[in-house]
């Protein structure tokens, strides 16, 4: 039970798939170390929670690409991302950056740049999703609820047809396509 995933790549694939057991294992193995480090470096335990969760989301986002291979362990990666996130946060707050204790080994130099790239890709993605959410809020009902049910809550077209009172999944599907057309108009007109 302690370790259902023996190979890191398996663990990563399970994380990318959103499996709870994998997430729990990663949490157990890494959260204490990272939060301990952060508290030693001027962060609160709330900072540690936020930071660690964001770091896992960065990894989750990276792992969505099935071609993605880690060049270090998951632990090292999360630790490095957490440090970089914390460093950026301190910079944003215009505080004197705390010297980064390098207790994970070689995460600086050229690999440090890679972590920065991963973080900015992550932030761009977050912004993109926020814009999409904003567009979704504007399309009106029943479209908003139908698209949320399908994309956010992972409901099947059968379930949606039943929940929204369509006589069959095909009718619900046609409605979904209409909604997507509306979403597309709003989303891309705002982008331009």
């Amino acid at each position: 039970m302690q370790s259902q995933f023996n190979i890191e790549q398996q663990l990563l694939a399970a994380l990318a798939d959103g499996q709870r057991a994998a997430t729990e294992q990663i949490y157990r193995q890494n959260y204490p170390i990272i939060s301990g480090w952060l508290v030693k470096n001027g962060g609160s335990s709330t900072d540690a929670d936020d930071l660690f969760q964001e770091a896992i989301v960065v990894l989750f986002g990276k792992a969505q690409d099935t071609e993605f291979r880690l060049t270090c362990s998951i632990g090292t990666y999360l630790f490095a991302i957490s440090k970089h996130l914390w460093y950026k946060k301190l910079q944003r707050q215009n505080r004197e950056p705390v010297a980064l204790h390098d207790n994970t080994g070689d995460d600086e130099d050229e690999t440090g740049i890679a972590y920065d790239d991963d973080i900015s890709t992550h932030q761009e993605r977050e912004e993109h999703y926020e814009q999409l959410d904003a567009a979704l809020e504007q399309i009106g009902e029943p479209c908003r609820s139908i698209l949320k049910a399908y994309y956010h809550h992972d409901k099947s077209m059968q379930e949606i047809a039943a929940d929204f009172g369509y006589t069959n999944p095909d009718n619900a599907k046609t409605q979904k396509y209409k909604c997507l057309t509306r979403l597309r108009k709003i989303f891309y007109s705002e982008m331009n």
Partner: protein, 372 residues
């Protein structure tokens, strides 16, 4: 718009799912090169679907992550509290000396009530007696429900019986084809069995059920819906059964019917054994009401660990659950055991709590006992 709505989205969905045959794919690629307007539309459609899918997946992941975080934090806090304050030996001595140990919200805060009358029952079954005014109310509700049902569809003939509801509890499915489990005391008490037992599902429909087998000591009854070809839900059961003894502190939740509305509650295993040291039971820190007898006790991964049976009478602060082992051993005694195959996997293991509840609703229902 030049191209029909459905077409471009169907094409984009098929493309992203990788379900376009190679010959078609070549034609598509050709068109993307030669027809710029089409290419623009196609790209926007695929990008939008990709983003919506990715965003949704990330949202579910984040929700699950928050849940994992809370669970892990709670586990750590729980462990610390126990290690510092109590040893099991101390516990037992304290409990014996006082006769009764009353638990409040956590193990670290407990008090003793020396004034307790030992002869008083400390153990109340949590089925719901329906008497007097309640019967009137229930009848009224039933009438309403029936009216709604009649309006709803004439093809549904799943009507409630005309006699009075005497008692209600909760049940949950063992197999999708109609076997379910509830607490034995829901269907049988000192006055014997009711005239008939019906379940009422989350959509308000009634189905008649018959007793298959029971274990009065363990307080488990296995029943089956009479209707041929009956199914609780669309697919296999979303949860599985775990008969191994679960750890102290395991977080659990339950769905049940304290009233006509389904209710969700959560808590944790506060003691490995149940009432009076009964090792076929757990003691839970879980707020429940009457009518929740027979409700499933489920862990975060979708394993059914037990079945709610009773609460401590004093302030109803303790809840007792029968271990899932009592259910499985009862199933093993059945001659036609082969017909009851419990689900092997919990489909809801990695879902958020909201989704888990959503998937479980169809398999959890009110059990109503009628008597003239």
């Amino acid at each position: 718009m030049s191209i029909s709505n459905n077409y471009i989205w169907e094409l984009a969905e098929a493309y992203l799912a990788g379900s376009i045959p190679i010959s078609e794919l070549e034609k598509l690629q050709q068109r993307l090169i030669t027809d710029a307007a089409f290419a623009n539309e196609f790209n926007e459609a695929t990008n939008l679907i990709r983003s919506a899918t990715g965003s949704g997946k990330q949202k579910r992941f984040k929700a699950m992550l928050r849940d994992v975080h809370q669970e892990q934090v709670a586990k750590v806090a729980n462990k610390k509290a126990k290690h510092i304050i109590f040893t099991p030996e101390f516990w037992r001595t304290a409990a014996v000396a006082a006769g009764v140990a009353i638990l409040t919200s956590t193990i670290t805060f407990w008090s003793l009530k020396p004034s307790l009358n030992k002869n008083e029952s400390r153990y109340n079954r949590i089925s719901r007696e329906v008497t007097g005014l309640k019967i009137a109310q229930a009848k009224q509700l039933e009438k309403q429900k029936q009216l709604e049902l009649d309006l709803d569809s004439k093809t549904k003939k799943n009507t409630a019986p005309t006699s009075d509801v005497k008692k209600t509890g909760t049940g949950f499915a063992l197999t999708n084809n109609g076997y379910f489990v509830t607490a034995y005391h829901v269907i049988h008490d000192e006055n014997g069995y009711g005239d008939s037992v019906y379940i009422q599902n989350h959509e308000g429909q009634y189905y008649k059920a018959s007793l298959v087998t029971f274990d009065a000591d363990a307080d488990v009854a296995i029943m089956k819906i009479d209707k041929a070809g009956f199914r609780f839900g669309k697919g296999e059961l979303p949860y599985t059964f775990n008969q191994a003894k679960a750890s102290l502190g395991t977080h659990i939740f339950t769905l049940g019917y304290p009233a006509d509305e389904i209710s969700y509650d959560e808590g944790y295993i506060s003691s490995r054994n149940g009432y009076d040291g009964n090792n076929m039971q757990y003691t839970l820190e879980l707020p429940v009401g009457h009518g929740q007898s027979g409700s499933p006790m489920v862990d975060a991964k979708g394993n059914v660990l037990g079945l709610l049976t009773a609460v401590g009478a004093e302030a109803e602060d303790k809840t007792y659950a029968i271990s899932a082992k009592a259910i499985t051993s009862l199933l093993h005694k059945l001659p036609d055991e082969k017909n009851i195959k419990l689900p092997k996997h919990a489909k809801i293991g990695y879902l958020t709590r909201e989704q888990q509840i959503d998937k479980m609703e169809a398999y959890t229902f009110s059990v109503k006992v009628y008597k003239k």
